[in-house]
C-alpha cells in the first residue's frame, strides 16, 4: 500500500485496522468465551457444549449440530433497539453460523449440540466480522476441536478509495462494504457479503485487502488464546 492515498476520516492508512483487543475466557459460566473490542464494537461471544440436544428431534446421529444467536443489547445502538430479535439479527445469526461451522470438527461430537451466543454490547461498523473473531476465540477457549481458527474482517470503499475495515463513520458516506470470514490455513472464504458498488478492479483489490485484515485478526486471536493459557499456567504455578 505505497500508493498516493487519500486521507481517511479516521486518519488510518487504507490497509490499517481499527484498534482491536481480544480477551479469552471472560464468562465464568460458559465453556468458552471471548470479549472483543474492535473500534467501538464491544462484543462478548460465549460457547456452551458439546451438550445434550433440545429438542431431541434435532439431534444428528453422526455429528454435532451448531446453534448460533447474534443479539444486540437495546443500549448498543445509536437509537435504542427494541429487545426482540430483528430480521437483521436472524440473518446475521445464520451467516455467522455458516461461517464458523466449516472450522468445527462436528463429526467428533455426534448427537450433541454446540451453542454459540454473540452479545453486542456496543456496536460500530463491522460488528458481524468482529463477532466472528470473538466466536472463533471462544470456540478454541471451549476446547472444541477445530480445523482452523476463523478470522474475519471487512474491506470496502469510502471516499472513492478501497480501504480495509470500514467503521461506522466511514460507512455513512461509504460506497461499499464487503465483510469476509476465512479459514486462513485452508484458503477458504466462509462468509462473503457485499453491499454497495464496486468495479471488477475494486472488487479484486477489496478481496486482497480483506485477506490481509483476516491474517492480522488470526494472529490477534492466537495471542489472546496463548495469553490466557500462559496466565492460567502461571496461576497454577503460583498456587503450587
Amino acid at each position: 500500500m505505497s500508493e498516493n492515498n487519500i486521507e481517511r476520516i479516521s486518519g488510518r492508512a487504507p490497509d490499517e485496522l481499527r484498534n482491536v483487543s481480544i480477551k479469552a475466557g471472560v464468562i465464568k459460566n460458559a465453556d468458552g468465551s471471548a470479549l472483543i473490542e474492535f473500534g467501538k464494537n464491544k462484543i462478548i461471544a460465549a460457547v456452551f457444549g458439546p451438550k445434550e440436544v433440545h429438542p431431541k428431534h434435532m439431534m444428528v446421529s453422526n455429528r454435532a449440530i451448531i446453534k448460533c444467536r447474534y443479539h444486540m443489547m437495546p443500549f448498543s445502538t445509536d437509537t435504542r433497539k427494541r429487545p426482540n430479535l430483528s430480521r437483521r439479527e436472524i440473518e446475521i445469526s445464520k451467516v455467522i453460523r455458516e461461517a464458523v461451522q466449516p472450522a468445527i470438527l462436528m463429526e467428533n461430537y455426534p448427537r450433541t449440540a454446540i451453542e454459540i451466543y454473540v452479545e453486542i454490547l456496543q456496536s460500530d461498523g463491522g460488528s458481524r466480522c468482529a463477532a466472528i473473531n470473538a466466536v472463533s476465540t471462544a470456540l478454541a477457549d471451549a476446547g472444541i476441536n477445530m480445523r482452523d481458527l476463523i478470522a474475519a474482517c471487512a474491506a470496502g470503499k469510502a471516499n472513492g478509495q478501497v480501504v480495509l475495515d470500514v467503521d461506522d463513520q466511514e460507512d455513512k458516506t461509504g460506497e461499499a462494504d464487503m465483510p469476509i470470514a476465512m479459514l486462513p490455513n485452508m484458503d477458504l472464504i466462509t462468509l462473503f457479503q457485499l453491499d454497495g458498488n464496486l468495479s471488477k478492479e475494486e472488487f479484486d483489490k477489496a478481496l486482497e485487502l480483506a485477506k490481509i485484515g483476516c491474517n492480522k485478526l488470526y494472529n490477534l486471536q492466537k495471542d489472546a488464546l496463548s495469553e490466557k493459557y500462559f496466565n492460567e499456567n502461571n496461576k497454577k504455578e503460583d498456587e503450587e
Binding site: R87, S93, K94, E98, D187, T190, D195, N197, K200, K211
Partner: protein, 275 residues
C-alpha cells in the same frame, strides 16, 4: 433461536447421478456447469389488484411477484424519500419441505438478500418517490410468492421482483394550495438501473450456476452475486456451511457479469413485449 432445521432429502440414486454427471462437467438435465435452465418471464399476470406483476420460471422453479404502490408518511430521518420493501414468501404449496407459518431463517435471508439487491443497486430512485416533503411519500411493496420450488430461489425472486417493478405504474399526484391531489394520469416508477442476480453453487470442487433443488441441497457453498447495468458489483451473499477459495470468487465474479448481461436483455424484452 435460528438453528439447524429439517432439510430436503436427496436420495442415494439422485446423489450418484449428480456426482457422476458432474465428473463429466455435465448436469443431470445435460446442461453445462455454467448454463441456466430455461427462463420464462411473463408480465402483468395480476392486473386487477397490483400496480405491476410478473411470473418467472427457471426450470421447475416458479415465482409470482406483485407490486403495490401506496402512500405513507416518510421516516423522520428521510423526509424527502419514498419507502421500498421487498418480501419473499415460501408458500406451502411450493414444496413438501415448506411448513406454513412465520418465515424461517432461510426465508428471511431470501427476503433480505432480494431487498438488498434492489436497494443497493439504486434501481429505484427513492428521492423521486416523494409526494410532499415530510408529509407524504410513495411506499412501494414488492411481494414475491414462491409457487413451486426447484432451487435457485435467489435469482427467481430477484427476476420476478425487478420485472414487476419495470412493468408497474402508479398514480400521479400534484400539490394545489398546499393540498395533495391525485391526478387521473399514471406514471412509471422512477427506475434507474436493472440489477441482475446470478447464483452459483459448489459441489466438490466444481462451480455450477443456477443449482436446482437437489444440487443446492448437496452443495457445500452457495454464492449470489448481483451486478448492475454498468458492470458494477452491488450485492453479494454467500450461503451454506462451506466456503470458496479466493480464486473461485474471482472466477465467479467474471461469469456473473457475462450471465447478468444476457439475463438483463431477456427481462427487458419480456417487459417490452408485455407492454
Amino acid at each position: 433461536m435460528p438453528a439447524v432445521k429439517k432439510h430436503r432429502i436427496v436420495d442415494a440414486i439422485t446423489l450418484d447421478s449428480i456426482m457422476s454427471k458432474l465428473s463429466d462437467s455435465k448436469r443431470t438435465d445435460d446442461r453445462g456447469l455454467l448454463d441456466y435452465r430455461k427462463i420464462e418471464i411473463e408480465t402483468n399476470i395480476l392486473k386487477d389488484k397490483t400496480n405491476g406483476s410478473a411470473k418467472v420460471k427457471i426450470g421447475d422453479t416458479e415465482v409470482w411477484a406483485g407490486i403495490k404502490v401506496e402512500t405513507a408518511n416518510p421516516f423522520p430521518d428521510t423526509p424527502a424519500e419514498g419507502v421500498m420493501t421487498c418480501n419473499a414468501e415460501m408458500l406451502p404449496i411450493s414444496s413438501q419441505y415448506v411448513e406454513p407459518g412465520p418465515p424461517d431463517e432461510d426465508t428471511i435471508e431470501l427476503s433480505r438478500v432480494s431487498d438488498r439487491g434492489i436497494r443497493e443497486s439504486g434501481m429505484i430512485d427513492v428521492s423521486e418517490l416523494c409526494i410532499k416533503e415530510g408529509e407524504l411519500v410513495y411506499s412501494v411493496y414488492i411481494d414475491v410468492a414462491v409457487i413451486n420450488e426447484d432451487g435457485n430461489l435467489f435469482d427467481a425472486v430477484a427476476y420476478a421482483g425487478t420485472t414487476a417493478l419495470l412493468q408497474a405504474d402508479m398514480s400521479k399526484f400534484t400539490i394545489e394550495n398546499d393540498e395533495v391531489k391525485m391526478l387521473e394520469e399514471r406514471e412509471k416508477l422512477p427506475i434507474k438501473s436493472l440489477p441482475i442476480s446470478t447464483t452459483f453453487a459448489k459441489i466438490g470442487d466444481k462451480i455450477i450456476i443456477d443449482p436446482n433443488a437437489d444440487e443446492q441441497e448437496i452443495a457445500t457453498a452457495r454464492l449470489t452475486l448481483v451486478t448492475d447495468e454498468n458492470g458494477k458489483y452491488v450485492s453479494a451473499q454467500k450461503g451454506k456451511p462451506g466456503g470458496f477459495t479466493f480464486e473461485e470468487l474471482k472466477e465467479i465474479s467474471v461469469i456473473s457479469k457475462e450471465k447478468g448481461e444476457e439475463i438483463r436483455k431477456m427481462i427487458k424484452e419480456a417487459v417490452n413485449n408485455g407492454a
